[in-house]
Subunit: 325 residues, 2 copies
């Protein structure tokens, strides 16, 4: 039986297309479970092109954006991304200005902050050293670093950065932040503006990137910023690969200036097998999985937004396409 | 120049002996720096016996307790342990009842809680799997466990357990506790008494032991409790090795009932090289180093207590020898 809200909404039965290379049908089935019947699923560009005509709403991940230039896409009024980052959609020149674009907000903070602290603590406690000692049956007491005596710098203070700050507080770290908008400055002990990257980078032991990718953040962490980092500091990128000048990073990682780089995102994904980052001893590579879009979480967000859409209300996660996020 | 408080205290210049197999002289020098001049250091039982006569205050770690039965120890009035656990001193039959015994409290919570979450996150995020994939240059996305969807059970809600609970809250975990005294029950979502070990163990994904070792807690985590744990749950022991029936633990770790045991403490320390725990794939061995006594932290605690001692005030960390901690 459908709930009252769902019955009301069924008056509006917009044509919805779900696009995802992996789990499109799973999403579609969950959406149908909420009473929306005009839902189709596509996993390939060909299927997308076939189902696009008449589609009003697109829920998508890694959508083939060249299709926006085709007649088939003309009925689309709203695109909900399954992710937090929408740089691919924002930069799709073929996407008409009247189409509303939304991204997921407030869903990835917990998972990404857990990932960040998993690696911060892995490094601080030197679990590698403990594992090696255990292999040799070697009782080797050493005094590990305390996060409570370290400074974290969080670049980007949106919902993900905010959750990282919250956990850093529980570890009694000193917390610095760099914010594009200046919002949420009161979360941190010291706030920096985008003009102060080098100063910001020079004062923290762990530099964590959670920024969106925009024209102004592309390759913002370059040789200058990396060189300004404290000797022995660690870089953690859970934002977008293109925030970092990957060639500069590889160069500096060949020196012993940084202790480690923890990278969940890369200029090219999947990271090509011959990329040197794979085999550098001070680099931790993970496959863009720190904040996975789960069908359950994304569907919940989308269904709530869909209710707002049907009622003509403002949508959550609306993207300002000039700003880029 | 000495501060006012130190000058006052120099009227009292008790004879202090520092005993530590490693860092005795380092401690002694720091204490002298506070204006106390009658400080000696010993690193071996022979040196201890030589310096004991006339000693009023003993600051010690791994003290040879048989010396308490000798004439040389008769002048001792107060013993400050360098650690949080004092089971060796409490169980020293030769220690006269009139000697005041204190332990360090409130110093180890941060370090031990960081250690606990380092391993909880290491397991939840399956860093081992990511490291293996990286070795093969294999882009292998998987959805990691979220601590926010797990339950932690903290046995012992003193200053260390309390700090673990605080961090568990920042990770939005469900938090259960088992308390010997019933104190601090309001910290947790569900509280269990010592009569409810099996029920407590059966409901948590991570069981963390921070209890003191007493007659009632010795081998309290035995085959019954270990078997009651959830399949796939993890045991973390940062209390004392003897809290766990190590033979029962080894037996159950040979099955796949538990996912992992993270052990910083053992029945015998250093863990003998032929102990099977060293080479079990689901066991993490660390050398009783999760909450290291640092000379700086311990000395600060001791100097504050010394001021109280000289002023005839009650000491911090006073041990109830009947209770055992």
């Amino acid at each position: 039986m459908l709930g009252g809200a769902d019955v009301t909404l069924r008056k509006f039965n917009p044509k919805i297309l779900v696009y995802s290379p992996q789990e499109a049908e799973e999403y579609a089935e969950m959406i149908r479970g909420h009473g929306y019947t005009a839902v189709t699923a596509a996993s390939t560009p060909d299927e997308a092109e076939q189902h696009l005509p008449g589609t009003e709403i697109l829920l998508c991940w890694q959508f083939p954006t060249y299709l926006f230039a085709t007649q088939a896409a003309q009925s689309v009024r709203w695109i909900q991304s399954m992710g937090a980052g929408v740089d691919d959609l924002v930069s799709a020149a073929a996407l008409p200005r009247h189409v509303v674009l939304t991204r997921i907000v407030g869903q990835f903070g917990a998972a990404i902050a857990e990932y960040v602290f998993a690696y911060l603590l892995f490094l601080a406690k030197d679990i590698t050293r403990s594992r090696e000692a255990q292999k040799r049956h070697n009782w080797d007491p050493f005094i590990a670093q305390l996060l409570s005596e370290e400074t974290i710098g969080v670049a980007g203070l949106g919902s993900i950065g905010g959750e990282i700050v919250r956990k850093a507080r529980a570890f009694d770290m000193a917390v610095h932040g760099l914010s594009l908008s200046g919002k949420q400055a009161d979360l941190v002990d010291r706030i920096y503006r985008p003009s102060e990257w080098e100063k910001f980078a020079s004062e923290v032991d762990y530099l964590v990137l959670t920024l969106p990718l925009t024209a102004t953040t592309r390759r913002v962490v370059d040789k200058k910023v990396l060189s300004a980092m404290k000797p022995g500091a660690c870089l953690v990128n859970v934002g977008r690969g293109q925030l970092v000048a990957e060639d500069d990073l590889i160069e500096i990682l060949h020196t012993d200036h940084l202790r480690a780089a923890v990278l969940d995102v890369f200029e090219r994904e999947p990271l090509p097998p011959d990329n040197p980052l794979w085999s550098m001893p001070n680099v931790f590579v993970t496959p863009h999985s720190s904040g996975p879009s789960t069908p359950k979480g994304v569907t919940r967000f989308f269904i709530d937004n869909l209710a707002r859409f049907c009622e003509g209300k403002a949508l959550e996660g609306a993207v300002n396409r000039e700003r880029g996020y």
